[in-house]
């Protein structure tokens, strides 16, 4: 039961992300699509390095480091 609730929580958040992106694609002047938003915020070095570091860590975590 708790396992299903935990997984449902992840899926709900992913569903919200998809809904947000679909809404942004339809109303880009109200909410910028993810790609456009990233292009704007990544003009800052700290944000750019932070996002790239998070991306790199994701690969590091699954490919080399212990995953649990």
């Amino acid at each position: 039961m708790t396992r299903d609730v935990t997984i449902a929580g992840y899926l709900a958040i992913v569903a919200l992300m998809l809904a947000l992106e679909i809404y942004a694609q339809r109303k880009p002047d109200r909410v910028a699509p993810l790609d456009d938003m990233l292009a704007q915020v990544m003009t800052s070095r700290i944000i750019r390095v932070g996002i790239i570091a998070a991306w790199w860590w994701f690969g590091w975590h699954f490919l080399f480091a212990s995953t649990v």
Binding site: T2, R3, T6, I7, G9, Y10, I13, L16, M17, L20, A24, P28, D29, R30, V31, A32, P33, L34, D35, D36, M37, L38, A39, Q40, V41, M42, T43, S44, R45, I46, I47, R48, V49, G50, I51, I52, A53, A54, W55, W56, W57, F58, G59, W60, H61, F62, L63, F64, A65, S66, T67, V68
Partner: protein, 181 residues
């Protein structure tokens, strides 16, 4: 400042869950960003932004992807590959993208806030699952983390290929190396 604090929290969480290497890497990155901020952006890793033809970038990425797919997971080959990727992307990411015309500022702000809230929700849910999964051996199954759920898929050869492919494509998309002037 907000992002530096965020990265510092990630480093602290890595130390807290016993991932010392992850913690040290993020702590070093935070230190580098703080020094760069305090010195007015004087740390220069490259003399000028790197540009390369799309075919060359895709060829190198493809070769790297093949190496990461062929090498067994958690091996020293993967460590080598991840170090090469890490150093390369740090060099490329250090030079920020030039500003380009985009959506209205209010739309960008709304999008950034919404994505930040959703990302924070995912991190909190994952952290809660991680804490609860440590309460007993059986709890690991009852409160699975994202890693726990994805690991069996990535362990399979097909899953390994898909993960490496999507991960590298995601990195290329974030860096946008070939679209730079």
């Amino acid at each position: 400042m907000f992002w530096t604090i965020g990265l510092a929290i990630i480093a602290s969480l890595a130390f807290w869950r016993g991932a010392w290497v992850d913690g040290i890497l993020f702590a070093l990155l935070v230190a580098m960003l703080v020094v760069d901020e305090l010195t007015g952006g004087r740390i220069r890793l490259l003399k000028r932004p790197v540009t390369a033809p799309k075919w060359l970038i895709l060829s190198i990425t493809g070769a790297l992807g093949a190496f990461l797919v062929v090498a067994p997971r958690h091996s020293w080959f993967h460590l080598l590959g991840m170090i090469v990727v890490g150093v390369t992307v740090l060099l490329l990411a250090w030079v920020p993208d030039p500003p380009r015309p985009g959506r209205p500022a209010s739309a960008t702000r709304a999008s950034a806030v919404a994505w930040s809230v959703l990302a924070a929700m995912l991190c909190l849910w994952e952290a809660l699952a991680f804490i609860l999964s440590r309460t007993s051996p059986a709890a690991e199954q009852e409160f699975p983390t994202v890693s726990f759920l994805l690991d069996p898929f990535v362990s399979k050869p097909v899953g390994h290929i898909i993960f490496v492919g999507l991960w590298l494509l995601g990195g290329l998309g974030l860096l946008r190396v070939w679209s730079r002037p």
